[in-house]
């Protein structure tokens, strides 16, 4: 399933992530999961929220650089070899993973991961 992720620029100084979360909380936007990518000097916060349109708007107004990106939610069986099978299918379809992180809300015996592929549609077809 393709969903919208919001990505926010994070300057390397204290309190940045807190103010992002506070701005979202004030407008009742719930964060389902997030991941941080960082270099020595700056970072990118990627998150899935319950209302990405509102999330973007709230953060844009608060002065953050924020963009939306399509990512794919992939359900993985929670057992040894579950992840390997998924990866093999993606390899076979020649899809590259740009990044991935776990979705916080697991579903029983399944884990959910968020992926950004070089070609999301192709990846979804391979996993269908």
């Amino acid at each position: 399933m393709t969903v919208k992720q919001i990505s926010i620029f994070l300057e390397n100084k204290p309190g940045q992530l807190a103010s992002i979360c506070r701005a979202l909380a004030k407008e009742n936007v719930n964060i389902a999961t997030l991941s941080l990518a960082d270099s020595a000097d700056f970072g990118i916060v990627r998150m899935i929220v319950d209302d990405h349109v509102k999330g973007c708007e709230v953060l844009g107004r608060a002065g953050f650089a924020v963009i939306q990106t399509d990512v794919v939610m992939v359900t993985v069986p929670d057992r040894p070899g579950g992840m390997a099978e998924i990866m093999e299918r993606l390899d076979a379809a020649e899809v590259d993973i740009e990044y991935s992180y776990a979705y916080a809300l697991g579903q029983g015996d399944k884990a959910v991961l968020v992926f950004k592929f070089d070609d999301n549609a192709k990846a979804e077809a391979a996993l269908a």
Binding site: E11, F42, G63, F64, A65, I67, T69
Partner: protein
């Protein structure tokens, strides 16, 4: 053509004759009334009567900003207080301000200079002019205000600041011309974008009259591209008048100097010799008509060139190059001479980079640290770390190519660098002197 533009087209011989006649009045006037000037002339062994041709001006001493500071408040004032009509002061970044008292005629000539610039840009009495320069001791606000009124425009004196309200008034009153610093316009554009205001769609803005700080052609192109307006350069300095000493001509890349009032020379800043037209050096002005605080051979520290040849618009007033640097703005980094304008030009070559940046220099035990902070925008923002690192590398490569140095490029949050309502400061030099 507006009748105010008539002197712009004066035949050259007539202009030179007029300049000489005005100098032959000014020099004795200054010699009689300003002790510093008299002392310097005497030291050089030059007398007012030695001014026989225009070239003889080179025999007379220079004035500098330090003279204005040393003689603060009224040491260089030539007219009695009963003749003074207006004061302008420039704070200067260090210590004492400079003070320039002007007579009513001085203000009128300065006003004429601004009006002639605006007329040359194509501004007419039908225009609605918003003056967003600071009003007060700074010459920007009142200079633009008087000039636009002189042309018969409808003037909206917003002054600087309260940017959201400025945008509302601009829309509601059908403003067609804005006068401000180029950096303030960039700020205005950012706020407008946030408010969902598109200059092309939502306003009638056609012209920007920008001055009071050095800016590059690259920033001019940015401004024109983002807003659809014509960005005009108005040049001037408080010591000589204020804005309106020269203005850029739509027909050439330079600025016509109103040399019937402000006589320009270009000198070699090291040897102090006058350079022929066509060569770059330090711009020097003599105020031919001013009587409140006349300036003879005032060294502006601005680097420029007087172009040779005739402008296709037919104006006979000589054309100077856009001032992209002040001689005292030059930075020496790792032994390389760098002008901030070169850094600006190379930054703007990377299209997605915001026009908001800051150059920071500091020193460690062994060497200089050279950092450039650049704000992230919706265009530079990406969910991919490597894409953002690529922007950083493109900026670094562009600077390396033009300046020959490799600063550290820091991406910072939008709106985090200081904005200015007056002259912006884009260089912080914390190196040990």
């Amino acid at each position: 053509m507006n009748p105010i533009s008539k002197p712009d087209f004066m035949p050259v011989e007539e202009l030179r004759k007029m300049q000489l006649a005005k100098l032959q009045e000014l020099i004795p006037y200054e010699y009689e009334r300003v002790p510093l000037f008299r002392r310097r002339c005497d030291e050089k062994g030059v007398k007012p009567r030695d001014l026989v041709t225009l070239a003889d001006l080179a025999k007379f001493p220079f004035m500098k900003k330090t003279d204005l500071r040393d003689e603060y408040p009224l040491g260089l004032t030539a007219a009695p207080m009963s003749e003074i009509n207006r004061f302008h002061c420039s704070s200067g970044t260090t210590g004492k301000p400079i003070c320039i008292p002007q007579t009513a005629d001085d203000v009128a000539i300065w006003t004429e200079g601004v009006a002639r610039c605006m007329a040359m840009y194509g501004i007419t009495k039908d225009d609605v002019v918003q003056v967003s320069y600071g009003y007060g001791l700074f010459t920007g606000g009142l200079g633009a205000h008087y000039g636009a009124e002189r042309l018969g425009c409808a003037v909206l004196p917003t002054g600087a600041g309260n940017t959201e309200k400025q945008i509302m008034l601009m829309k509601d009153l059908g403003v067609t011309v804005i006068c401000c610093t180029p950096s303030y316009f960039l700020h205005l554009a950012t706020v407008a974008e946030k408010l969902g205001v598109d200059f092309r769609r939502d306003t009638k803005l056609k012209h920007g009259v920008f001055g009071a700080e050095p800016w590059t052609d690259e920033i001019r192109e940015r401004i024109e591209g983002m807003s659809g307006i014509q960005a005009h350069d108005i040049y001037g300095l408080t010591e000589i008048a204020g804005p309106g000493v020269a203005g850029n001509c739509p027909h050439c890349h330079g600025l016509h100097v109103w040399e019937d009032h402000f006589y320009p020379e270009i000198i070699d800043p090291d040897t102090l010799e006058v350079l022929p037209d066509g060569e770059e050096g330090e711009l020097v002005f003599t105020t031919l008509d001013r009587r409140g605080t006349p300036m003879v051979r005032y060294r502006t520290r601005d680097l420029s060139r007087l172009q040779t040849g005739q402008c296709p618009c037919g104006r006979t007033m000589r054309v100077m190059d856009r001032v992209h640097a002040r001689s005292d703005d030059m930075l020496i980094i790792h032994g390389v001479n760098v002008f901030p304008s070169q850094i600006e030009a190379s930054l703007m070559k990377v299209p997605e980079v915001a026009p908001h940046y800051m150059i920071e220099l500091s020193s460690t035990d062994t060497m200089d640290r050279f950092e450039i902070k650049v704000e992230v925008t919706a265009e530079t923002m990406s969910d991919s770390m490597s894409a953002m690192e690529a922007v950083r590398k493109r900026v670094a490569a562009s600077i390396k190519e033009i300046v020959g140095l490799s600063p550290k490029i820091m991406l910072v949050a939008p709106g985090s660098l200081p904005r200015s309502e007056g002259k912006i400061k884009r260089v912080i030099d914390n190196r040990r002197k």
